[in-house]
């Protein structure tokens, strides 16, 4: 049913349609069947009736010198049969011709009816531009193959719509976040420039404010680029020692933590080798530590631990900060989400740190989980697939966080609130309730 390409290209547009081909097929099948039936009837009759065209009889009857040829009765019979068969043949050809034309017409109409929903799907799909993905085909009628096709398109459009909306939201949020520090810079500079009597202290203050705002913009641009780059397949995977990388990442936080009188406890398990982009994973750990060191109250303890369990490695960061309310927990990994907008912005947060963590971890086939209780603190655990088996026994994140604490201090009620799932294998969540919606220390589903 597929004609060669050169032929298709030469056909006029209407002759290239499925409707045309469908009509031809329908007509050919109907005509062929009819022709076979008619031919069969004709042949059967031809064999049943003796058929011999006779122009004149063979018998000769003479009287008074004149002779007339006459037909015998059987000859006469054959003559009649011959004429009937000829007529039958002619009528049959005529009828077949009419049938051929009629079958083309009926085929055209029927094909049109069958294909009408496809026309509708096409016209709606054509009307839907990238900017207006809100339209749907919404094909009426019974739940048949074409309706399923249209519904599939609708579902795809809904997904695209949601993706575009999320992208638009992200762009709007990003521009909003960039405009605020820009406004600070511009207004402060405008006000300082407009004052002819500004003294050095005023100018110094303005410069300090501008520096603060531009630092914030620089951090934001860094984070935005980090998010954008992670979306490209630019990760360089190679096996590396997780403990060494995490120690390196946390070294940068020893001084800032000490400055805020925060104790940074580290319990790094040696010899855990994972495959991934080393620098990128260090960034994820640094983001978690940055949040913890920035938001935890002065004098509290931030604990960092790594280890492995089965074929998965984990990195846990726990703080004794304000904690995250249960209704906020599903949002902490969203871009630009902040628990307390004013405070964390003043503290230098961009609202992107945890979104970057999630993106990095998921691009490594891992998951990040949060467990938090208001007033007690928050624990983030990154789970990564491990390549080489670790030497020695497995220790879960909760146990190591406890070990990271000072001797005698209990991690109970902190890293594992009463009633929370145990660190040992938790029931695998369905894909819908991914790690971010499920604060649990359990390993991710395989």
């Amino acid at each position: 049913m597929n004609p060669p390409g050169w032929l298709v290209d030469r056909l006029p547009e209407w002759a290239r349609s499925i409707r045309f081909r469908y009509t031809l097929l329908y007509s050919a099948v109907l005509f062929g069947l009819a022709a076979v039936v008619v031919a069969a009837i004709y042949l059967v009759l031809l064999m049943a009736l003796r058929n011999q065209p006779v122009s004149a009889g063979r018998g000769l009857w003479c009287r008074y010198g004149e002779c007339i040829r006459f037909l015998s009765l059987s000859e006469f019979e054959r003559l009649v049969n011959s004429q009937i068969l000829t007529k039958l043949r002619n009528y049959s050809f005529g009828a077949l011709g009419v049938l051929f034309v009629a079958s083309l017409g009926v085929g055209w109409v029927v094909a049109g009816r069958v294909l009408r929903p496809i026309g509708r799907i096409t016209s709606v799909a054509r009307e839907i531009q990238a900017t207006d993905l809100s339209r749907r085909i919404e094909l009426p009628g019974p739940d048949d193959e074409l309706k399923q096709l249209a519904d599939t398109f609708d579902a795809m459009l809904a997904r695209l719509d949601a993706a575009f909306a999320a992208q638009r939201q992200f762009t709007a949020d990003a521009s909003h976040e960039l405009r605020n520090p820009l406004a600070i810079i511009r207004t402060n500079v405008d006000v300082a420039l407009a004052d002819p009597h500004a003294d050095p202290d005023d100018l110094r203050h303005t410069i300090t404010v501008v520096k603060r705002a531009s630092d914030r913009m620089a951090r934001l641009v860094d984070d935005l680029l980090a998010l954008a780059r992670r979306q490209e397949p630019t990760l360089e995977f190679e096996p590396f020692d997780l403990g060494v990388a995490v120690t390196e990442a946390s070294d940068d936080f020893v001084v800032p933590a000490a400055a805020r009188n925060i104790v940074l406890d580290r319990a790094i398990a040696p010899g855990v080798v994972v495959t991934g982009d080393r620098d990128v994973l260090k960034r994820a750990v640094a983001n978690l530590l940055d949040n913890a060191v920035r938001l935890a109250p002065a004098g509290s303890r931030v604990r960092l631990a790594t280890g492995s369990e089965g074929d998965r490695a984990w990195i846990a960061v726990a703080d004794e900060g304000p904690g995250i309310a249960p209704e906020d927990q599903p949002h902490v990994f969203d871009r630009f989400w902040r628990a307390d907008k004013a405070r964390s912005r003043a503290d230098g947060g961009t609202g992107l740190g945890l979104a970057i963590v999630r993106q990095i971890v998921e691009s490594h086939g891992g998951q990040v989980r949060l467990q938090s209780k208001v007033g007690l603190g928050s624990s983030f655990v990154i789970w990564l697939p491990v390549t080489a088996a670790r030497v020695g026994g497995a220790v879960g994140p909760a146990g190591s966080l406890a070990a990271a604490g000072s001797p005698g201090s209990s991690a109970e009620g902190f890293s594992r609130p009463p009633g929370a799932p145990s660190p040992a294998p938790a029931p695998a969540p369905t894909p819908a309730e991914r790690a971010r919606t499920r604060p649990s220390f359990g390993p991710p589903p395989k």
Partner: protein
Amino acid sequence: MRVLVVEDEADLADAIARGLRREGYAVDVAYDGDEAVDKASVNDYDVVCLDLNLPRLDGIEVVRRIRADDVGQPTRVLMLTARDSTRDRITGLDEGADDYLVKPFDFEELKARVRALLRRDAGRSGAVLRVDDIELDSSRHDARRNGHQLPLTPKEFALLRYFMSRPGQVLSQEDLLEHVWDENADPFTNTVRVTVMTLRRKLADAGDGQPIETVVGRGYRLREQP
């Protein structure tokens, strides 16, 4: 003229306040929505510069509450926001904002828009106010009587501007304190009386007669020649 700046970015709020104070406005600052509604319910502001995206109570809700409290002369609301979509503007204006400025903005434009909002109530169309022989150009910060420039301090300038936007009206000391001084002014000092006195002296030096008269027991009035 009294202005409330509502903005959660302290560095921005303080700069706006500093710039507007230099223009002679009495400026208060609120750093979140709750504080803005509190201050607006206590003080009678002429203009509120309001950030749309605020912690606690968002800008739209603040406008609604300010509008619900409006008695007498309405408070003019200038929305400042980093969101520039048309829909955001429409929402802001529909909820009762009088004007809209997208961050980052030129501070000169902010000043011009504040002036324009203040003119709406005065029923004038230009930046220059004129009552008899007194002329005040708020965009150039210039006040003259009989063509002679008046050497006014920012507070005296603001006071004269308030008188000139309400010529012929009797304005009490409380009115003046409310609209020309900010919340840091001490209502128990005679700062209003002293500033009115110095303004009157400077006006008298530049022309004939005293345009600001005392209405005994009620306050002051800028005389308007019939």
